[in-house]
Protein backbone atom coordinates (compact mmCIF):
# COMPACT_ATOMS: atom_id res chain seq x y z
CA UNK A 1 0.00 0.00 0.00
CA UNK A 2 2.77 2.33 0.98
CA UNK A 3 4.42 1.58 -2.29
CA UNK A 4 1.30 2.50 -4.21
CA UNK A 5 0.98 5.72 -2.33
CA UNK A 6 4.44 6.75 -3.32
CA UNK A 7 3.46 6.52 -6.95
CA UNK A 8 0.13 8.13 -6.48
CA UNK A 9 -0.17 10.97 -8.93
CA UNK A 10 -1.32 14.42 -8.22
CA UNK A 11 -5.04 14.52 -8.70
CA UNK A 12 -4.79 18.17 -9.70
CA UNK A 13 -2.92 17.07 -12.79
CA UNK A 14 -5.71 14.72 -13.75
CA UNK A 15 -6.95 16.46 -16.85
CA UNK A 16 -8.45 13.51 -18.61
CA UNK A 17 -7.89 14.61 -22.20
CA UNK A 18 -4.57 16.42 -21.84
CA UNK A 19 -2.23 13.40 -22.08
CA UNK A 20 -4.14 12.01 -25.03
CA UNK A 21 -3.97 15.35 -26.81
CA UNK A 22 -0.21 15.51 -26.17
CA UNK A 23 0.25 11.92 -27.37
CA UNK A 24 -1.78 12.70 -30.48
CA UNK A 25 0.31 15.79 -31.15
CA UNK A 26 3.58 13.94 -30.73
CA UNK A 27 2.30 11.22 -33.04
CA UNK A 28 1.26 13.76 -35.66
CA UNK A 29 4.58 15.64 -35.42
CA UNK A 30 6.53 12.39 -35.76
CA UNK A 31 4.57 11.25 -38.80
CA UNK A 32 4.87 14.71 -40.37
CA UNK A 33 8.62 14.76 -39.69
CA UNK A 34 9.12 11.34 -41.25
CA UNK A 35 7.02 12.38 -44.24
CA UNK A 36 8.95 15.63 -44.79
CA UNK A 37 12.37 13.97 -44.51
CA UNK A 38 11.27 11.18 -46.83
CA UNK A 39 10.00 13.70 -49.38
CA UNK A 40 13.17 15.80 -49.27
CA UNK A 41 15.25 12.65 -49.62
CA UNK A 42 13.24 11.46 -52.62
CA UNK A 43 13.82 14.69 -54.46
CA UNK A 44 17.56 14.39 -54.91
CA UNK A 45 18.85 10.89 -55.16
CA UNK A 46 19.23 8.50 -58.00
CA UNK A 47 16.37 8.10 -60.32
CA UNK A 48 18.47 5.73 -62.31
CA UNK A 49 21.64 7.80 -62.35
CA UNK A 50 24.29 6.03 -60.37
CA UNK A 51 26.92 8.72 -60.20
CA UNK A 52 24.94 11.05 -57.99
CA UNK A 53 24.07 8.51 -55.39
CA UNK A 54 25.64 8.30 -52.02
CA UNK A 55 27.36 5.50 -50.24
CA UNK A 56 24.37 4.71 -48.08
CA UNK A 57 22.25 3.86 -51.05
CA UNK A 58 24.56 1.06 -52.03
CA UNK A 59 22.67 -2.13 -52.33
CA UNK A 60 19.31 -0.53 -52.15
CA UNK A 61 18.66 0.40 -55.72
CA UNK A 62 15.25 -0.50 -57.09
CA UNK A 63 14.05 -0.46 -53.51
CA UNK A 64 15.66 -3.79 -52.80
CA UNK A 65 16.18 -4.70 -49.21
CA UNK A 66 19.63 -4.48 -47.68
CA UNK A 67 18.70 -7.68 -45.92
CA UNK A 68 19.30 -9.61 -49.12
CA UNK A 69 22.59 -11.37 -48.79
CA UNK A 70 23.78 -14.61 -50.30
CA UNK A 71 22.75 -15.15 -53.89
CA UNK A 72 20.98 -12.29 -55.55
CA UNK A 73 20.27 -12.24 -59.27
CA UNK A 74 23.19 -11.21 -61.49
CA UNK A 75 23.04 -7.72 -62.94
CA UNK A 76 21.27 -7.98 -66.30
CA UNK A 77 23.97 -6.50 -68.52
CA UNK A 78 26.94 -7.79 -66.52
CA UNK A 79 28.36 -9.73 -69.45
CA UNK A 80 27.85 -6.90 -71.93
CA UNK A 81 29.04 -3.95 -69.84
CA UNK A 82 32.29 -2.21 -70.82
CA UNK A 83 35.19 -4.15 -69.36
CA UNK A 84 36.70 -1.30 -67.37
CA UNK A 85 40.42 -0.63 -67.19
CA UNK A 86 42.46 -3.43 -68.71
CA UNK A 87 44.40 -5.19 -67.32
CA UNK A 88 42.42 -4.87 -64.11
CA UNK A 89 44.07 -4.77 -60.70
CA UNK A 90 43.40 -8.14 -59.15
CA UNK A 91 44.44 -10.48 -56.37
CA UNK A 92 43.99 -14.23 -56.24
CA UNK A 93 43.97 -16.42 -59.31
CA UNK A 94 43.56 -14.91 -62.75
CA UNK A 95 41.72 -18.01 -63.93
CA UNK A 96 39.45 -18.44 -60.90
CA UNK A 97 35.85 -19.25 -61.75
CA UNK A 98 34.57 -16.78 -59.18
CA UNK A 99 35.29 -13.13 -59.81
CA UNK A 100 34.73 -10.79 -56.87
CA UNK A 101 34.64 -7.27 -58.18
CA UNK A 102 34.64 -4.32 -55.83
CA UNK A 103 33.73 -0.85 -57.04
CA UNK A 104 35.01 1.62 -54.49
CA UNK A 105 35.55 5.29 -53.89
CA UNK A 106 38.68 6.11 -51.91
CA UNK A 107 36.89 8.92 -50.10
CA UNK A 108 33.85 6.87 -49.09
CA UNK A 109 34.01 6.01 -45.35
CA UNK A 110 32.23 2.69 -45.82
CA UNK A 111 34.75 1.69 -48.48
CA UNK A 112 37.53 2.36 -45.96
CA UNK A 113 35.81 0.13 -43.42
CA UNK A 114 35.22 -2.58 -46.00
CA UNK A 115 38.85 -2.41 -47.20
CA UNK A 116 40.35 -4.66 -44.46
CA UNK A 117 37.41 -6.99 -44.84
CA UNK A 118 38.14 -7.46 -48.52
CA UNK A 119 41.74 -8.20 -47.58
CA UNK A 120 40.40 -10.81 -45.20
CA UNK A 121 38.26 -12.28 -47.98
CA UNK A 122 41.25 -12.42 -50.29
CA UNK A 123 43.33 -14.27 -47.68
CA UNK A 124 40.44 -16.58 -46.86
CA UNK A 125 39.68 -17.64 -50.43
CA UNK A 126 43.15 -17.29 -51.96
CA UNK A 127 43.29 -18.72 -55.47
CA UNK A 128 39.65 -19.82 -55.40
CA UNK A 129 38.65 -16.29 -56.38
CA UNK A 130 39.84 -13.45 -58.52
CA UNK A 131 39.40 -10.22 -56.59
CA UNK A 132 39.23 -7.21 -58.87
CA UNK A 133 39.33 -3.65 -57.61
CA UNK A 134 37.58 -0.97 -59.67
CA UNK A 135 37.58 2.78 -59.20
CA UNK A 136 34.22 4.37 -58.73
CA UNK A 137 34.94 7.91 -57.49
CA UNK A 138 31.73 9.78 -56.74
CA UNK A 139 33.00 13.23 -57.63
CA UNK A 140 29.70 14.94 -56.91
CA UNK A 141 29.92 14.20 -53.22
CA UNK A 142 33.64 13.47 -52.70
CA UNK A 143 35.81 16.21 -54.10
CA UNK A 144 39.15 14.42 -53.71
CA UNK A 145 37.95 10.96 -54.72
CA UNK A 146 38.85 11.24 -58.39
CA UNK A 147 42.37 12.51 -57.67
CA UNK A 148 42.85 9.70 -55.18
CA UNK A 149 41.82 7.14 -57.78
CA UNK A 150 44.26 8.69 -60.25
CA UNK A 151 46.98 8.54 -57.57
CA UNK A 152 46.32 4.83 -57.08
CA UNK A 153 46.50 4.25 -60.82
CA UNK A 154 49.67 6.32 -61.07
CA UNK A 155 51.19 4.13 -58.37
CA UNK A 156 49.94 1.11 -60.32
CA UNK A 157 52.06 2.27 -63.25
CA UNK A 158 55.04 1.55 -61.01
CA UNK A 159 53.49 -1.74 -59.85
CA UNK A 160 52.52 -0.35 -56.45
CA UNK A 161 48.78 -0.06 -56.90
CA UNK A 162 47.84 -2.16 -53.87
CA UNK A 163 50.31 -0.38 -51.61
CA UNK A 164 48.85 3.00 -52.59
CA UNK A 165 45.29 1.65 -52.36
CA UNK A 166 46.01 0.56 -48.81
CA UNK A 167 47.55 3.90 -47.83
CA UNK A 168 44.68 5.86 -49.34
CA UNK A 169 42.11 3.90 -47.38
CA UNK A 170 44.01 3.82 -44.11
CA UNK A 171 44.76 7.57 -44.28
CA UNK A 172 41.39 8.55 -45.66
CA UNK A 173 40.53 10.96 -42.85
CA UNK A 174 43.77 12.83 -43.45
CA UNK A 175 43.43 13.67 -47.15
CA UNK A 176 39.65 13.60 -47.63
CA UNK A 177 39.05 17.20 -46.73
CA UNK A 178 42.42 18.58 -47.74
CA UNK A 179 42.19 21.58 -50.06
CA UNK A 180 45.26 20.27 -51.87
CA UNK A 181 45.46 16.49 -51.52
CA UNK A 182 48.22 15.95 -54.09
CA UNK A 183 51.14 16.74 -51.74
CA UNK A 184 49.74 14.09 -49.42
CA UNK A 185 49.49 11.58 -52.27
CA UNK A 186 53.11 12.41 -53.14
CA UNK A 187 54.05 11.77 -49.54
CA UNK A 188 52.42 8.33 -49.74
CA UNK A 189 54.20 7.71 -53.03
CA UNK A 190 57.48 8.36 -51.26
CA UNK A 191 56.49 6.12 -48.38
CA UNK A 192 55.98 3.17 -50.72
CA UNK A 193 59.19 3.91 -52.59
CA UNK A 194 57.88 5.23 -55.88
CA UNK A 195 59.91 7.31 -58.28
CA UNK A 196 58.32 10.56 -57.25
CA UNK A 197 58.95 12.44 -60.48
CA UNK A 198 57.39 9.68 -62.54
CA UNK A 199 54.49 9.53 -60.10
CA UNK A 200 53.87 13.28 -60.49
CA UNK A 201 54.01 12.96 -64.28
CA UNK A 202 51.64 10.02 -64.24
CA UNK A 203 49.22 11.88 -61.99
CA UNK A 204 49.03 14.58 -64.63
CA UNK A 205 49.15 12.25 -67.61
CA UNK A 206 46.21 10.77 -69.42
CA UNK A 207 46.93 7.08 -68.90
CA UNK A 208 46.06 6.92 -65.21
CA UNK A 209 43.02 9.14 -65.70
CA UNK A 210 41.89 7.02 -68.63
CA UNK A 211 41.99 3.92 -66.46
CA UNK A 212 39.83 5.61 -63.83
CA UNK A 213 37.40 6.77 -66.51
CA UNK A 214 37.14 3.26 -67.94
CA UNK A 215 36.31 1.85 -64.52
CA UNK A 216 33.75 4.60 -64.07
CA UNK A 217 32.16 3.74 -67.41
CA UNK A 218 31.84 0.14 -66.32
CA UNK A 219 30.30 1.12 -62.98
CA UNK A 220 27.83 3.42 -64.68
CA UNK A 221 26.91 0.85 -67.31
CA UNK A 222 26.22 -1.64 -64.54
CA UNK A 223 23.96 1.00 -62.98
CA UNK A 224 25.58 0.59 -59.58
CA UNK A 225 23.84 2.74 -57.05
CA UNK A 226 26.73 3.60 -54.76
CA UNK A 227 29.97 2.59 -53.17
CA UNK A 228 31.16 0.15 -52.29
CA UNK A 229 29.45 -2.19 -54.70
CA UNK A 230 30.59 -5.76 -54.51
CA UNK A 231 29.72 -8.22 -57.25
CA UNK A 232 30.32 -11.94 -57.13
CA UNK A 233 30.23 -13.11 -60.74
CA UNK A 234 27.90 -10.21 -61.38
CA UNK A 235 25.64 -10.87 -58.42
CA UNK A 236 25.50 -7.88 -56.06
CA UNK A 237 26.33 -8.57 -52.43
CA UNK A 238 24.07 -6.26 -50.51
CA UNK A 239 25.73 -6.54 -47.14
CA UNK A 240 29.28 -5.56 -46.35
CA UNK A 241 29.90 -7.87 -43.44
CA UNK A 242 32.80 -10.25 -43.96
CA UNK A 243 30.58 -13.24 -43.29
CA UNK A 244 27.96 -12.12 -45.81
CA UNK A 245 30.55 -11.57 -48.52
CA UNK A 246 32.11 -14.94 -47.71
CA UNK A 247 28.69 -16.60 -47.82
CA UNK A 248 27.98 -15.08 -51.23
CA UNK A 249 31.30 -16.41 -52.52
CA UNK A 250 30.72 -19.83 -50.99
CA UNK A 251 27.27 -19.94 -52.58
CA UNK A 252 28.73 -19.08 -55.96
CA UNK A 253 31.50 -21.66 -55.58
CA UNK A 254 28.88 -24.26 -54.66
CA UNK A 255 26.70 -23.29 -57.61
CA UNK A 256 29.62 -23.65 -60.00
CA UNK A 257 30.63 -26.96 -58.47
CA UNK A 258 27.08 -28.20 -58.85
CA UNK A 259 26.84 -27.21 -62.49
CA UNK A 260 30.23 -28.79 -63.10
CA UNK A 261 29.08 -32.06 -61.59
CA UNK A 262 25.88 -31.92 -63.58
CA UNK A 263 27.84 -31.37 -66.76
CA UNK A 264 30.12 -34.28 -65.97
CA UNK A 265 27.21 -36.61 -65.29
CA UNK A 266 25.29 -35.63 -68.38
CA UNK A 267 26.23 -37.43 -71.60
CA UNK A 268 28.65 -35.40 -73.65
CA UNK A 269 26.44 -33.60 -76.10
CA UNK A 270 28.38 -31.46 -78.49
CA UNK A 271 31.21 -30.95 -75.98
CA UNK A 272 29.67 -28.09 -74.02
CA UNK A 273 32.13 -26.64 -71.60
CA UNK A 274 31.04 -26.65 -67.98
CA UNK A 275 31.28 -24.12 -65.15
CA UNK A 276 33.48 -21.35 -66.44
CA UNK A 277 31.52 -20.58 -69.55
CA UNK A 278 28.35 -19.91 -67.59
CA UNK A 279 29.88 -17.45 -65.20
CA UNK A 280 28.46 -14.00 -65.28
CA UNK A 281 26.21 -14.71 -68.19
CA UNK A 282 23.08 -15.53 -66.28
Amino acid sequence: MAKEQKFAPNSEKKTSWTPFVIIGLIFAVTILGIYLITQSGDADPNSGSSSTSSSTSAGSSNGSSPAETAQSQPIANYANAPSGATPAHFKGSESAAVVVEEFADFQCPTCAVVHPRMNEIVSQFGSRIRFVFRNYPLRQIHRNAYDAAVAAEAAGMQNKFWEMQNLLFTNQARWSNAAQPRPLFEEYAQTIGLNIEKFKDDMLGLVAQRRVDLDLQRAQALNLSGTPSILVNGRPVNSFETTSIAQAIEAELARIEKSREAAEQAPAEGGESPANSSDGNQ
Binding site: K3, E4, Q5, K6, F7, A8, P9, N10, S11, E12, K13, K14, T15, T18, P19, I22, I23, I26, F27, T30, G33, I34, Y35, L36, I37, T38, Q39, S40, G41, D42, D44, P45, N46, S54, S55, T56, S57, A58, G59, S60, S65, P66, A67, T69, P109, T110, A112, V113, V114, R117, I141, A173, N238, S239, F240, E241, T242, T243, S244
Partner: protein, 151 residues
Protein backbone atom coordinates in the same frame (compact mmCIF):
# COMPACT_ATOMS: atom_id res chain seq x y z
CA UNK B 1 -10.79 3.56 -15.56
CA UNK B 2 -11.01 5.29 -12.26
CA UNK B 3 -8.24 3.22 -10.79
CA UNK B 4 -5.69 5.37 -12.57
CA UNK B 5 -6.68 8.24 -10.35
CA UNK B 6 -5.37 7.74 -6.88
CA UNK B 7 -4.79 9.73 -3.79
CA UNK B 8 -2.43 12.60 -3.58
CA UNK B 9 0.68 11.98 -1.56
CA UNK B 10 3.59 14.09 -0.43
CA UNK B 11 6.00 11.59 -1.97
CA UNK B 12 4.60 12.28 -5.41
CA UNK B 13 6.57 15.40 -6.20
CA UNK B 14 9.78 13.53 -5.83
CA UNK B 15 8.60 10.52 -7.77
CA UNK B 16 7.04 12.56 -10.56
CA UNK B 17 10.59 12.98 -11.76
CA UNK B 18 10.56 9.37 -13.01
CA UNK B 19 7.78 9.64 -15.59
CA UNK B 20 8.95 13.14 -16.53
CA UNK B 21 12.53 11.94 -17.10
CA UNK B 22 11.15 8.95 -18.98
CA UNK B 23 9.09 11.26 -21.22
CA UNK B 24 12.16 13.32 -22.09
CA UNK B 25 14.38 10.28 -22.76
CA UNK B 26 11.64 8.64 -24.84
CA UNK B 27 11.19 11.81 -26.90
CA UNK B 28 14.92 11.94 -27.66
CA UNK B 29 14.85 8.27 -28.65
CA UNK B 30 11.72 8.83 -30.73
CA UNK B 31 13.29 11.74 -32.62
CA UNK B 32 16.43 9.69 -33.27
CA UNK B 33 14.70 6.55 -34.48
CA UNK B 34 12.07 8.47 -36.47
CA UNK B 35 14.91 10.28 -38.25
CA UNK B 36 16.62 6.98 -39.09
CA UNK B 37 13.32 5.51 -40.26
CA UNK B 38 12.77 8.47 -42.57
CA UNK B 39 16.33 8.25 -43.91
CA UNK B 40 15.88 4.53 -44.48
CA UNK B 41 12.79 5.07 -46.61
CA UNK B 42 14.17 8.06 -48.48
CA UNK B 43 17.44 6.28 -49.20
CA UNK B 44 19.37 9.48 -48.63
CA UNK B 45 22.75 9.78 -47.01
CA UNK B 46 22.86 9.81 -43.24
CA UNK B 47 25.55 12.22 -42.04
CA UNK B 48 27.87 9.73 -40.42
CA UNK B 49 30.71 12.09 -39.67
CA UNK B 50 31.52 11.16 -36.10
CA UNK B 51 32.07 7.44 -36.35
CA UNK B 52 33.51 5.81 -39.42
CA UNK B 53 31.46 2.83 -40.53
CA UNK B 54 28.10 4.24 -39.52
CA UNK B 55 26.77 3.63 -43.03
CA UNK B 56 27.91 0.08 -42.74
CA UNK B 57 25.55 -0.47 -39.82
CA UNK B 58 22.66 1.34 -41.51
CA UNK B 59 23.00 -0.74 -44.66
CA UNK B 60 23.70 -4.05 -42.94
CA UNK B 61 21.37 -7.03 -43.03
CA UNK B 62 20.24 -5.99 -39.56
CA UNK B 63 18.94 -2.62 -40.77
CA UNK B 64 15.68 -4.45 -41.44
CA UNK B 65 13.85 -7.16 -39.55
CA UNK B 66 11.10 -8.99 -41.44
CA UNK B 67 11.29 -6.33 -44.12
CA UNK B 68 10.62 -3.49 -41.69
CA UNK B 69 13.37 -1.01 -40.79
CA UNK B 70 14.80 -1.74 -37.35
CA UNK B 71 14.57 1.99 -36.65
CA UNK B 72 10.81 1.83 -37.11
CA UNK B 73 10.52 -0.78 -34.35
CA UNK B 74 12.55 1.63 -32.21
CA UNK B 75 10.29 4.57 -33.08
CA UNK B 76 7.20 2.58 -32.13
CA UNK B 77 8.78 1.45 -28.87
CA UNK B 78 9.82 4.98 -27.94
CA UNK B 79 6.40 6.31 -28.82
CA UNK B 80 4.83 3.67 -26.58
CA UNK B 81 7.30 4.48 -23.80
CA UNK B 82 6.52 8.19 -24.12
CA UNK B 83 2.77 7.59 -24.11
CA UNK B 84 2.91 5.28 -21.11
CA UNK B 85 5.12 7.54 -19.02
CA UNK B 86 2.98 10.56 -19.87
CA UNK B 87 -0.16 8.69 -18.87
CA UNK B 88 1.51 7.63 -15.63
CA UNK B 89 2.37 11.26 -14.97
CA UNK B 90 -1.26 12.18 -15.51
CA UNK B 91 -2.55 9.61 -13.08
CA UNK B 92 -2.64 6.25 -14.84
CA UNK B 93 -0.24 4.86 -12.29
CA UNK B 94 -0.94 1.22 -13.05
CA UNK B 95 0.65 1.64 -16.49
CA UNK B 96 4.07 2.02 -14.86
CA UNK B 97 4.41 -1.77 -14.74
CA UNK B 98 3.68 -1.99 -18.46
CA UNK B 99 6.24 0.76 -19.03
CA UNK B 100 8.71 -1.35 -17.04
CA UNK B 101 8.09 -4.42 -19.20
CA UNK B 102 8.58 -2.31 -22.29
CA UNK B 103 11.87 -0.86 -21.05
CA UNK B 104 13.14 -4.34 -20.17
CA UNK B 105 12.35 -5.50 -23.70
CA UNK B 106 13.93 -2.41 -25.21
CA UNK B 107 17.04 -2.81 -23.09
CA UNK B 108 17.40 -6.46 -24.12
CA UNK B 109 17.02 -5.45 -27.77
CA UNK B 110 19.62 -2.73 -27.24
CA UNK B 111 22.11 -5.23 -25.83
CA UNK B 112 21.56 -7.45 -28.86
CA UNK B 113 22.05 -4.52 -31.26
CA UNK B 114 25.22 -3.45 -29.47
CA UNK B 115 26.52 -6.99 -29.71
CA UNK B 116 25.80 -7.01 -33.45
CA UNK B 117 27.61 -3.72 -33.96
CA UNK B 118 30.62 -4.75 -31.92
CA UNK B 119 31.11 -8.36 -33.03
CA UNK B 120 29.14 -9.05 -36.19
CA UNK B 121 29.05 -5.85 -38.22
CA UNK B 122 32.23 -4.60 -36.55
CA UNK B 123 31.24 -0.98 -36.93
CA UNK B 124 29.26 1.50 -34.88
CA UNK B 125 26.64 4.02 -35.81
CA UNK B 126 26.28 7.12 -33.68
CA UNK B 127 22.52 7.27 -34.13
CA UNK B 128 22.23 3.67 -32.97
CA UNK B 129 24.44 4.45 -29.98
CA UNK B 130 22.23 7.40 -29.08
CA UNK B 131 19.23 5.10 -29.20
CA UNK B 132 21.09 2.57 -27.05
CA UNK B 133 21.76 5.34 -24.54
CA UNK B 134 18.15 6.50 -24.39
CA UNK B 135 16.75 3.00 -24.01
CA UNK B 136 19.31 2.30 -21.28
CA UNK B 137 18.26 5.52 -19.54
CA UNK B 138 14.61 4.40 -19.71
CA UNK B 139 15.56 1.06 -18.20
CA UNK B 140 17.58 2.76 -15.46
CA UNK B 141 14.68 5.12 -14.73
CA UNK B 142 12.35 2.20 -14.26
CA UNK B 143 14.85 0.28 -12.11
CA UNK B 144 15.51 3.35 -9.97
CA UNK B 145 11.81 3.94 -9.49
CA UNK B 146 11.40 0.39 -8.21
CA UNK B 147 14.39 0.66 -5.92
CA UNK B 148 13.30 4.04 -4.67
CA UNK B 149 9.79 2.90 -3.95
CA UNK B 150 11.14 0.15 -1.78
CA UNK B 151 13.13 2.46 0.42
Amino acid sequence: MNNGITNQNEGWRLHAAFPVAACIAALVGLADSAYLTAQHYSGSEVPCSIISGCELVLTSTYAEIFGIPTALYGALAYFAAFSLSLLVFYGYKYLWGLFGLLTIGMFAFTVWLLYLQAFVIQAFCQFCLLSALTSTILFVIFLSSRLFSRS
